[in-house]
Structure formats: C-alpha cells, structure tokens
C-alpha cells in the first residue's frame, strides 16, 4: 500500500466512521463497537506497518495542497514520536472500545458515544501527525471540543455539564493561545511547515518575540496537560463515562500538552525562561497532584490527581532541557498511558459491579473479584514505581536526572528533594488505592453484590498489565526500538547514549527509589484509618482552583455582563436612535470639517426648480409637523415631497429615476393607505406637555436641524467642486458596444452590475415573503378589530333609511374606468419592459407598473370581486423571476463564461422591426417577474386583512421583560 494512502487512511477513517456511527440505530451496541474497533484496529495495523520507514529518524509525508500561496496545506507527517503516539491512540482506543461495549448501559445513547469517540480518535491522530502548525492548532481545538462533548455525555447531570464547561473554557483558552503562538512561530520562521520549523535551530529561541511566543505556547501546553495552576479542570472532567476518562483524560488527550512540548523541544527548550517555567511548573504539579491524590475518597478522583502528578513529572523532565531528560519524558509518556488506562478501567469495573467508587464504602474486594484485584495491584505497582514494572524504569530515569549536580544551590537541592517527596506520596496513594479497595473486611451496604465482570471486559486490562510487566522486565526487547525511533525523531543527532536495563547498580537514584517506597509505607501505615475517612486535603482545601475559576467566570460573564447591560444598554429605542444619529453627525462633521474649504457663491438660480422645492420643502416640514395627529395629511404631504424629488430627477437628466420614483411613490402610498386603518385613533387634544417632553422636542429639533445643515453643506460643497475621474466613462463607452443597449443605467443594472441586481431582487423577494409571513398571523389591537367607524356609520344610516348599502355603489364610474384601463396598463408595462435596454424603462419600472395594474383592479372591484375573476399567484411570480435570473447567469457559466455574462444580437421581427435580443433581456425578465410578484404579494397580503376579520390580540399588555437576574 502506498505510504501516503496509509497516512490519509489513519487520520480520515475515524472521522468517516464517526459519521457512520452517528447514523446507526440507537440500540446497535455491537454494531457500533465493531465499527469503532475495526477502525482502531486498521489504524493500529497501518501504523505498525509504517514503522520500518520511521525507525531510523525517517519521516513519512502526505500533503493535500489547499492554499499553497499562503503556506496552508493539509499536511500529515509521521516520524518516531508521532508513530509512538499513533500506536498509543489506536491501541488504547481499540482496548477502550472493547471495554466500553460492556461498560456502557443499553439505556445510554450509544450512537453519540461512539461517534464522538471516533471523532476524538481522528482529531488526536490528526494532531500528532500534523505537518503544518496551523493545522496542528485546529486539531488541538478539535480535541478540546470533542472532549467537552464527551465529558458532558450525560448532560442531564449538572456536574457533567459544569465539568464539561470548565474543561472547555480552560482548554479552549489554551487552544486560542496556541493558535497565536503558532502564528508567531510561523512569523519568526517564515513557514508553517513543521519540518522547516524543526530545522530552524535556535532561530525561535533567539528571536525578540520568543518570550511572548513561549508564554502563549506554554499556556496551551499547561492547560491541556492540566499543569499547575490549571490542573483543576481534570478532576472535574471525571464526570465523563469511565472509558472516556481512561482514554482521553489519562492516556491520550491530556498527553497532547506534553506532546506539544516534546514536539517543539528542539527549537523552544534550552533557555533559562523555559527551564524555570517548565521545570518548576511541572515540579509544583508533581507534588501537588501526588499530595491531593492521597486525600481523595473517589477512586476516579484519586486517579485524576495521580494523572496530574505524573504529567507534572513528564513536564519537569521536559523542562530540564537535557537530552537524557527528554528520553525519560518520552518513555514515561508511554508507560503512564499503559498503567493509568488499565487502572481507570479497573475502577470502572469496580464502579460497575459494586455501584460505588467511594473508597470509604469499599473494602476486601480481592475475595469477590480476584482477577481484577490482581491486575489492579500490578498496575498500581507500576504507578508507585515498584521494580520490575515499567513505571519503575522511567521513574528511575527521572530520579537520575534530578540528582545531577547543578551549580545553582536551589536547583541542586529542590529537584531531588521534591522528586523523592512526590515519590513517597505516590507510593502512599497507590497503597491507599490497593489496600483500601481490595484488602480488609468484606464490604457492607453496597447496592450490588460484587462479582467478576465479563471476561471480555477484563481483557483490555490484562493486555495493558501484560505490557507493563513486559516493558518492566525486558525493556530492551519490548519497547527499545520504538522508544529509540521516537527519541531520534526529537533529538536527531544529539541523541545521547541511554540504557534501558533494570539494574544500574547501587547508586543515588536507587537510594531515592528505596526512600520513596519506604517513606510511602511510612506515611500510609500510621494514618490509614484517618486517610480513609477524609475527603479533600486538609492544607490546601480552602485554596481550590475550581472555586477561583468559578468565581472569575461568574464575575466576568454574569456580574460584568450585567453591569455592561445596565450601563450601555437600554430597552428603549428612542434614545438609541438619538445616539446613533448623534454619532453619525459627529462622524460626518469630523470627516468633513477640515475638507470643507471655501464655498463658492451660487452661480445660477432656476426659478422653476426653486418653486418646485418651495412646495417640496414646505411639504416635508408640514409632514414632520403633522405626522402625529394627522396621518393621512402627513402621508399626502410626504407624497408632495416625493413628487418634488421625482421632478428633480427628471430635471437633472435621470429619466429612469424619475419613473421609478413616481411608481414606487404610488405603491408606497397604496401600501400605507392600507395600513392606516390598523393604527390607533389619535385625536389632536391639547396634551398636558411636561417640561421634560418639551425639552426633548427642542433637543430633537436642534439635532435634526444640525443634521439637515450638515447634509446640505456637504452636498453643496461637493456639487460645486470638479468631479473626480470616476468609472462612469467605462460604462458610457462600453454600454453599447459590450452591453448592446443605449440606456446606460439599464445596461448597468442588468449587465455590468447584474450580480448586484440579482442580490437586490433576492432581498426584494425575501422582504415580500417576510411581509406575507408576518401578516398571516396578524393580530390587530382590539380597538382596531371592528369595522372602521365610517363604514359603521354608513351602514347604520342605510339601515335607518331602509335603503340598500350606499357603499356598494361608491366610486362606480372611476371603478369602471379602472377596469377598462387594465389592458392598457398591461400594454404600458410590456412596452416599458421591452424598450428598457435602449430607452428609459426596464424590469423594475415595468414590474411596478404591472403590479399597480393589478392593484387598481383590487381598488375598483374589491378583493373578492377580483379574486373571483383573476387568480394572481405572486409567490410563483417571485419564484420564477428569481429562477429565470439565476438560470440566465448559470447559462453563461455552462457556456464557459463567468457568471452572468451576457450576449446580444438584434433580431428582425416582422412588423415590429429590429428588437435587441440580449440575454440581459432574459435577466431583466426575471427582475420584472420578481418585482411584480413581490409588490403584488405585499399589497394583497395587507389588503386581505380587511376582509379576514382577524382575531384581535388577546391581551394587549406590553410584554414585561423578566428581571435581569433570571436570565442566566
């Protein structure tokens, strides 16, 4: 099999299988397990097959180019270190799948579990195999995200949700820091390719940006690997199902942080800053984790703190910066994964078979669960560092490294002493685990009678414990070559000589080991009764990272947020608009003040235009004056201002605009007329105006006047200046030759800027559908629900007179004329449409004309009369319009031109003459149909409310917002 394909399969199969797992039926426990197990097994086999290629510092690549210009590719590479991690991820993944098959209850949503499990596997493999550092950060985030979902797997439990959220906030913050760190590294090195970065030597460490990069980088590594002071998320993540804890939170994901530090060790380590932060951060974690683990009564809590402690050990080793320490770190990564995963599984079995993980309730389980007990005892031995087990070897190497003489007295003393102390504590908590659970009297008061689990559930633990023993006794044969490959991939030519043998003679590290073992026993034996009952350590209980974190989170997301809302927020629209207008004015004045210059005196005056605008201006002012109490009058006055605008368009050589303005004005007027009926009656009674209200009005008048003055000045200043060289000449020069039309505005709309127009008609269609949707559930206010007063008076009068309803004959003659005009209006619309390309007109104008023709019929005959005779399906018009416009554009693409390219020719049609036949005309047809549909839909939907007799809104109480304190 080609290497590249193997690499691609290793990381992509889990993702693919995750999708399949999600789609499988809820109860398919075996199917899911087989799927996940097969994927893990295939990944493991493929990885193992690749070993010969990475054995001697070789690197295998597979690159899928994505954005090569930016150095962003989907690149994967496997070297010895990645190989070791891939084996850990797939091998332990395989075992955990088998284990989870028995652990998970049939009631759990199993598809989600396996889908997330597989997605995690893919993310983790992608992370360790990343050949691009940006991609590495992405996969890093992905593992955080999946970890969040898996911790919150039982999301009905609040502790699971809290733990998940905390893990996401902490590791997500780290992920963000990593992203920035990676970009900085990319900036320093000049490439995102990991090979280039690793080959850059001391470039990063000597760059001025190194401190910032390192802090961000370590923030990521420390949060992910639960290093002090970010360790507290890991114990809270133990609310996840135990297979998840065994896989993510001990064997693989939490190793990502130390993986990162190992990966970049050659280029980042070796500085003073690195030494002090990493070594002592790790040392603090090592000691704190071991200390806290001793006081846990939850077995998973004990293992979680132990994991923190061991991660601290690895971090300390990486911090020391010597090649031998790096060897020990890599070795311990593998060792810890084997014994800790098996211990988690053992605890899961105990939990499963007894119903509790509380060490106070458990004892004497060796009688009822002899096999599990034996396995757990051996694994605990490895955790404590007992000789002939794998944990002993790497711990011994750790002691050797700490005991090396350092000229700094503090370093020289603190390292070996803290290491030995932590070793003692880890022996003590291992004994507590073994002695408390498996020895002593028979347990009492358990929910279930303890017994051995199914044999297959125990099989994964057996395999892992076997690995612990094999590595512990014959390390040179079992792990030797693989460790060597990983070490060479990190250290390259600097790889020192190291010995994996069990016996190194009677030396200082051995003495430290013996002190640790004896000291651990000495700590445990006198106090074991008190240790059994205690929950939480007596010294540091008050200072819990979790509580600080929660307080910070509450302060930041709740208290500050509330404060921000109360300071900057308002539920009132009026002040918001005031501030928006004020800011806009300030921005305009700020931008224009300096550039205003000297304004020239007016050169010409046109009395007719002046007259038009005396009418227009007075209309606008009067509309502003009257809009509160005289809505109809205000609307008519607004129409006056609109007409003045329309005349101005015509005046200044914009016939298309004048036409469009006129027609849109008519449509708007009809629309508002239809809506007026639903507004509350407002009588111009002399109101009791308070001083505050009066002041507010003056304030608004001043602001409005300022805005008016500003816009007026700005437009005068611009109009009296020479126009800059624009893009208009291009359109004027090419409209006819390229677009085939003489009406440049229309050619621009349907050809040059066709994409823009496509977007615009889409908006128009969306608005029409929204209007339609809003009106379908329209509930008028109760006082508007009845028929209007005029109609009622009319009906009462008619009844009193004993005559027929006069309203039926209302506007008879105009109505007849409107009926007759229908074909004429249609003809005008078609005419406007056809000539649009060469003369004023086009799809927009023709569309509004056409829809006004329809509306005229509604006004003349009434809704029912029209709909008995003419069925307009506006939604279809909208749909077809959009489709035609879109297909015209796609047609160009089908012929190999860019989207919306138009072609044209003149067709000679008998009797009519030469007609321009551009594909732009087809596009314009789409515009036309959509405008007809949208306008008619909006008008008709509103008109229908009058015959619908809609239910009034039930309680016209303004909705009270709930108090702010309840929204969290």
């Amino acid at each position: 099999m080609p290497t590249e394909l193997a690499l691609t399969l290793i990381w992509s199969l889990p993702f693919l299988a995750a999708v399949i797992a999600m789609a499988m039926p809820a109860g398919a426990r075996n199917g899911e397990a087989w799927l996940a197990g097969t994927v893990a097994a295939v990944g493991l086999v493929l990885t193992i097959l690749l070993f010969p290629q990475v054995a001697d510092g070789g690197v295998v690549h597979s690159t899928i180019t994505w954005m090569p210009a930016y150095g962003l590719d989907l690149a994967f590479r496997m070297d010895g270190l990645a190989w070791l991690f891939c084996v850990l991820v797939t091998f332990i993944g395989l075992l955990v799948v088998l284990y989870a098959r028995y652990y998970m209850s049939p009631k759990d949503p199993i598809a989600r579990f396996y889908a997330l499990f597989l997605a995690f596997m893919g993310a983790m493999l992608g992370l360790v195999m990343s050949g691009n550092i940006i991609q590495l950060a992405i996969f890093w985030e992905l593992t955080s995200l999946v970890s969040f979902l898996l911790i919150g797997y039982w999301y009905h439990r609040s502790d699971a949700r809290d733990g998940a959220r905390m893990a996401l906030v902490i590791t997500g913050t780290g992920g963000l820091a990593l992203f920035v760190a990676m970009m900085l590294i990319g900036h320093i090195v000049g490439s995102y390719d990991i090979d280039v970065v690793l080959a850059s030597g001391r470039l990063i460490a000597e760059h001025p940006l190194y401190p910032v990069t390192l802090i961000l980088f370590l923030l990521a590594a420390f949060t992910k690997s639960a290093q002090f002071p970010f360790q507290f998320w890991l114990p809270n993540a133990m609310t996840a199902p135990t297979p998840v804890s065994a896989y993510l939170h001990s064997a693989t994901m939490v190793k990502a942080g130390v993986f990162l530090m190992t990966r970049f060790w050659p280029v980042m380590a070796g500085t003073d800053m690195w030494f002090w932060i990493v070594t002592y951060g790790g040392l603090a974690t090592l000691l704190f984790g071991a200390y806290a683990a001793l006081f846990q009564r939850d077995l998973k809590g004990l293992l979680a703190y132990s994991t923190i402690s061991h991660l601290g050990l690895i971090t300390t080793l990486l911090g020391m910066g010597t090649p031998l320490a790096a060897v020990a770190a890599i070795f311990h990564i593998a060792n810890h994964a084997t014994f800790k995963a098996s211990l988690f599984m053992a605890v899961g079995i105990i939990d499963h078979e007894t119903g509790t993980r509380d060490v106070r309730k458990l004892s004497g389980l060796r009688r009822s669960m002899p096999f599990t007990a034996t396995l757990a005892i051996i694994a605990s031995g490895a955790m404590a560092g007992v000789p002939l087990l794998n944990g002993f070897l790497s711990k011994e190497m750790f002691f050797t490294e700490t005991a090396i003489y350092d000229p700094n007295v503090f370093v020289n003393l603190s390292l070996p002493i803290v290491a030995t102390l932590a070793g003692m504590l880890s022996v003590a908590y291992s004994i507590k685990f073994v002695h408390g659970v498996f020895f002593g009297p028979e347990p009492t008061g358990l929910e279930k009678t303890p017994h051995e689990p199914p044999a297959l559930m125990r099989r994964p633990i057996e395999l892992l414990v076997l690995a612990c023993l094999a590595v512990g006794i014959i390390p040179g044969i079992t792990i030797g070559p693989y460790l060597a490959a990983a070490v060479v991939s990190v250290l390259g030519g600097d790889t020192p000589y190291y010995s994996l043998s069990v016996w190194h003679g009677f030396n200082l590290p051995l003495i430290m080991s013996i002190i640790a073992l004896l000291g651990g026993v000495a700590i445990y034996v006198p106090y074991y009764r008190r240790l059994r009952g205690i929950d939480g350590d007596p010294l540091l209980r008050g200072l819990r990272g979790q509580r600080i974190f929660e307080r910070l989170l509450i302060t930041a997301t709740n208290r500050w947020a509330r404060k921000m809302v109360s300071v900057f927020g308002t539920q009132r629209l009026q002040p918001q608009i005031f501030i928006v207008v004020l800011l806009a004015l300030a921005a305009g004045v700020g931008a224009g003040w300096a550039r205003m210059g000297n304004l020239p005196l007016p050169s010409s005056f046109d009395p007719v235009l002046g007259l038009v605008w005396i009418v227009g201006g007075v209309s606008a002012l009067a509309a502003a004056w009257q809009a509160k109490f005289h809505r109809l009058a205000a609307m008519i006055l607004m129409g006056g201002a609109g007409l003045a605008t329309c005349i101005t368009f015509a005046w200044f050589s914009a016939p298309d605009l004048a036409l469009t303005q006129l027609l849109a004005e008519i449509a708007t007027t009809v629309l508002i007329l239809l809506g007026l009926r639903w507004l509350p009656k407002r009588l111009p009674v002399p109101e009791d105006i308070s001083i505050g209200m009066r002041l507010r009005r003056y304030r608004d008048v001043i602001l409005a006047a300022a805005v008016g003055l500003g816009t007026g000045l700005a437009s005068y200043a611009i109009m009296t200046r020479q126009a800059p060289e624009g893009i208009s000449e291009f359109f004027l020069a090419n409209a006819y030759t390229e677009g085939g039309g003489t009406n440049v505005v229309n050619v621009m709309l349907v050809d040059f800027r066709g994409f823009d127009t496509l977007g615009e008609i889409t908006v128009l269609g969306v608005v029409a559908l929204t209007v339609f949707g809003l009106l379908r559930r329209f509930r008028p206010a109760p006082d508007s629900a009845d028929r209007p007063e005029q109609q009622r008076v009319q009906a009462d009068f008619a009844e009193a007179q004993g005559s027929a309803n006069v309203a039926a004959d209302f506007l008879r003659i105009p109505a007849l004329i409107m009926n007759w005009m229908f074909p004429v209006v249609m003809t005008v619309a078609i005419y406007m449409f056809l000539r649009g390309h060469d003369l004023p007109g086009g799809g927009f104008i023709a569309g509004i004309v056409m829809s006004l023709g329809f509306i005229l019929q509604y006004m003349a005959g009434g809704t029912r009369w029209v709909e008995d005779r003419l069925r307009i399906l506006p939604v279809l018009w909208i749909g077809w319009g959009l489709l035609i416009a879109l297909l015209t554009g796609l047609g160009a693409m089908a012929l190999g031109f860019p989207f919306l390219t138009s072609a044209f020719a003149y067709a000679d049609i008998p009797l009519i003459g030469k007609v321009p036949m551009a594909t732009a005309l087809l596009f314009d047809l789409g515009v036309f149909a959509l405008v007809v549909g949208a306008t008619v839909l909006m008008l008709i939907a509103l008109a229908h409310q009058s015959i619908r007799r809609p239910k009034p809104a039930s309680t016209p109480q303004p909705r009270k917002r709930e108090g702010l304190d309840t929204w969290n």
Partner: protein
C-alpha cells in the same frame, strides 16, 4: 441651482431626522421616507448636476462628456426599490407590534 438642491436636501434630511426621533411608529415611517429622498438626491448630486444630458446613448462612438454620470443613477434606482421594500416591511412590523403591544410607541410601552 446647486444651492436650491442643497437646501432641498437639508430640509428633507432635517424633517426626516426629526421624525425618526419621534416616539410614534407612524412618524418614524414618514421620517424614513423623507430621509431616503434626501439620501437619493444626495447620491444623484455626487455625479454633479447636468441638464438635458440623459445617459441614453445615440449610438456607438459616443463622447462620454456629452452624457450625465450613469453610476449614481444606477445606485439610486436600486436604492429606490429597496427603500420601497423597507417601507413595506417596516409598515408590517409596525402593525404587528401595534397588535402585540396594544400601542404604537416605538418602545412598545406607553399609551
């Protein structure tokens, strides 16, 4: 000529903004329309004012200097149509809000 149009724009914008700041929804809708007139005229004036020079070509090989600037016109045409759609949407939202809150105040409160 320029001064007339500038004053027109000023008056339209001023009355429009005053109405935008009023508490009743109907006032706001009229205000929005007035402001859009002002803005449309303003955009048109960006191409400088020309009379009797519509952007209708009289055939190929035209001299661009003989015609008015078509770019602001195309922009304003779009703006007019969108303005119509906006007015329609706002009107319907206004009516729905009036039904739901029982009043026509922009804040949904008051009488």
């Amino acid at each position: 000529m320029e001064l007339t149009l500038a004053i027109a724009i000023a008056v339209l914008a001023g009355s429009g903004v005053y109405l935008l700041l009023r508490p009743r929804t109907f006032q706001v809708i009229i205000g929005l329309s007035l402001v859009s007139y002002a803005v449309n005229l303003f955009i048109l004036s960006m191409g400088r004012l020309r009379m009797d020079a519509a952007p209708i070509l009289s055939g190929a090989n035209a001299n661009p200097a003989d015609y008015t600037d078509p770019v602001p016109q195309a922009l304003v045409l779009t703006a007019i149509v969108i303005g119509f759609a906006m007015t329609a949407l706002f009107l319907v939202v206004l009516l729905a809000a009036r039904g739901l809150t029982g009043n026509d105040h922009v804040d949904g409160k008051g009488n």
